[in-house]
Subunit: 471 residues, 2 copies
Amino acid sequence: MSSNNLDLIDRLRSAVGAAGLVLEKEAKAAYETDWLQKWTGLSSVVVRPANTQETAEVMRICHETHTPVVIQGGNTGMSGGATPDTSGAQVILSMVRMNAIRNVDPLNNTLTAESGVILANIQAAAQEANRYFPLSLGAEGSCTIGGNLATNAGGIAVLRYGNARELVLGLEVVLPDGRIWNGMRALRKDNTGYDLRDLFVGSEGTLGVITAAVLKLHAKPIARATAWVGAESVDALIRLLAQMREVCGERLVAFEMISEESLDLILEHVADVRAPLANSHPFNALIELSDTQEQGLADLLESSLGDALEGGMIQDVVVSQTNGQTQAFWKIREGISQAQVRAGKAVKHDIALPISAIPAFVRGADVAVRKALPGAQIINFGHLGDGNLHYNVLLPLDSSPEAYAATTAKLNRVVHDIVSVANGSISAEHGVGQLRRDELRHYKSEVEFDLMLRIKQSLDPNHIMNPGKLI
Amino acid sequence: MSSNNLDLIDRLRSAVGAAGLVLEKEAKAAYETDWLQKWTGLSSVVVRPANTQETAEVMRICHETHTPVVIQGGNTGMSGGATPDTSGAQVILSMVRMNAIRNVDPLNNTLTAESGVILANIQAAAQEANRYFPLSLGAEGSCTIGGNLATNAGGIAVLRYGNARELVLGLEVVLPDGRIWNGMRALRKDNTGYDLRDLFVGSEGTLGVITAAVLKLHAKPIARATAWVGAESVDALIRLLAQMREVCGERLVAFEMISEESLDLILEHVADVRAPLANSHPFNALIELSDTQEQGLADLLESSLGDALEGGMIQDVVVSQTNGQTQAFWKIREGISQAQVRAGKAVKHDIALPISAIPAFVRGADVAVRKALPGAQIINFGHLGDGNLHYNVLLPLDSSPEAYAATTAKLNRVVHDIVSVANGSISAEHGVGQLRRDELRHYKSEVEFDLMLRIKQSLDPNHIMNPGKLI
């Protein structure tokens, strides 16, 4: 360890105390590898500030010493955005000790939390106040709200409630130079200047440290109605989606698509699931309505799907009659990750398209992928209601790391070229991090990249915030 | 006219053609004074580009020549943001010729429009496609969508659908140096870098020229139910609001508050309106539900307000039984502007607060205003559901301009000091423009102002975009 580094550690210790530093190699290791064990790096030290002032002091020191900083929440990211590089020069700034819920205001429908609060704890606190915080995703038991906001997390309730961006009203941010921006406004309307909040949301730790947020709460749904649908084509599902939105309005909370090949994979590899419908169908959808009123909800779902069935838009449907059946439907949908892990190595895509462009995309991508990789096993599923597909390709479990990497690069290019032509997104909800950084530079227009660089330069002139990620 | 200016005009003519220039003094005058006739200025020329390329060429010329530019849509702003200064050096860039609706995509629930399209025409195009564009405000027959986005317009449907910001997915922007940023993404999810879109939304023409936008459409409501409520206090109305959100969820589309004094003013000065309730109440609310389903909506409104009445939360209620009655309720609410103009000179405030902080604000502000101006006539009304009050004070019609200006400055400070302490906003939906520019500098934190300045500098280094406004 250089004397410069020893000096840095001393200064950081004076900022956060000995309890706020992790220096031992084994203890640091838990922060240096992401949960997917896909990315790994080395840090000079892990700093765990207990409050905003300490965070500000840490950033002031790093700014002055030009020390690169990687911010980390629950370490559950999908794109390696919170893992340091291998230089050993980067400081990991872990926000997990800032885990207080500062305030719940049911009259204003807001909840104020520090960035290290675990998402599930926010959901529970909202519930306790007879409100609802709709952000929900697989990692909710360990991801933090700061990470959710820094990556603009999506999840399973975006169709009605929007991404994390739409669920935040105010932010507190420690800037790269250690100043504190107090943007903790709990307001639905505020037209007093540039929207700084949304600049930090989704910036993946490259512009500042989110230390706290004012979150929007919603009315708690007390009823839900769920169905499983089989259809001939994705075109049919998209027409059904449009029709259900017309008829059900904001009640429509989930419209998840699962291709036949995806369903077969789940049925083969996940325990205790069975096919909801008697026959196989090229495309399936899990559809859910929810409401603050019980009355009429199940009837609405049954009648709208009954109409679609009679009209030949869909081939089969089963409406859940019990909570157990509803859970069974969701278990199938949520089993897809496990099924993929067990069945092979997935080349992943997290893409978004205009919903009307999805049928053409699926046809075009299926052909192009099978041309690039004859016999490819395409696992196509996702949040159809958001235009967000996880269009994955499964390689054999025994693929060598080299073969997997080469095929991934090849198929990513094939799929993302088609997405790009359709004016879609190559990262719908998983962010850029390390995973898509080179691709981002390839697909973003020069003008857009220049705008991003100008903003980065203006807020982080020493380029210490999460170098090697996103931009 | 200087030779430099003649040269500029020649260059602009070559960019937009003779048809794209307005040079005559009388013709320019219509652009040089805002609709409220509150602000007036002088322009060197009014330029009306027909398309994005022409707009880009105009900006390239202005950037090179350091010519200041004021962008204008329907000229219906509330804060003088689209009116030039009196130097005669500023170019007005009028977007009204860019008035094409480029695309309506019902399957994707999007509509793509150029920035000069009048809001009402967008509403109509959505309607024609059996969809709904919820942005709605008094000026909708003449304001343009570009202006709505540049000012992040609010209006009467924010409670359910959000501000203009929440209704846009993608933007096309001509940058201050004439480059075109194509951010026309019609996607619900896109996590590929900084949120540039929301930086331009609400920037009041100080960062770039919005030339087109992809707008979000919603399901068309087919049923509405409306009521008028009388209550003892604003506290009671806020409890009612919270209860109605719990029970009605997203059906609740309007919760407008009108104080007794405001209602009296309307009844006195607006023709063909009458009090909805037999007795006077300190506070009134106009409440509306809407839904994509007819069934049960009226019952839901009646039962929830019936419960509130029985529980003593409110003192009286009338639920509209006919379309005519609903229109009569809204006529009262919308008559407030006219009533104020007829009755006096209004010292205006357009403030937002956490909803839970409104009762204390009203009590504190009432006392402080009456202390500053004994006998003040306080006209307090607004979008209670959004925490947005138009807390105005009416001065006599015969107040001298000097007395009006002095009292305005005095009361603005009194009211905005209280708003500021409550962590509220001094401009909820009307923006900053010229009107609140000095106040913004007074109330914004130094850190926030510095962040805004850095962004301004990075995107508009020659400071040609709408100088004298906002920042």
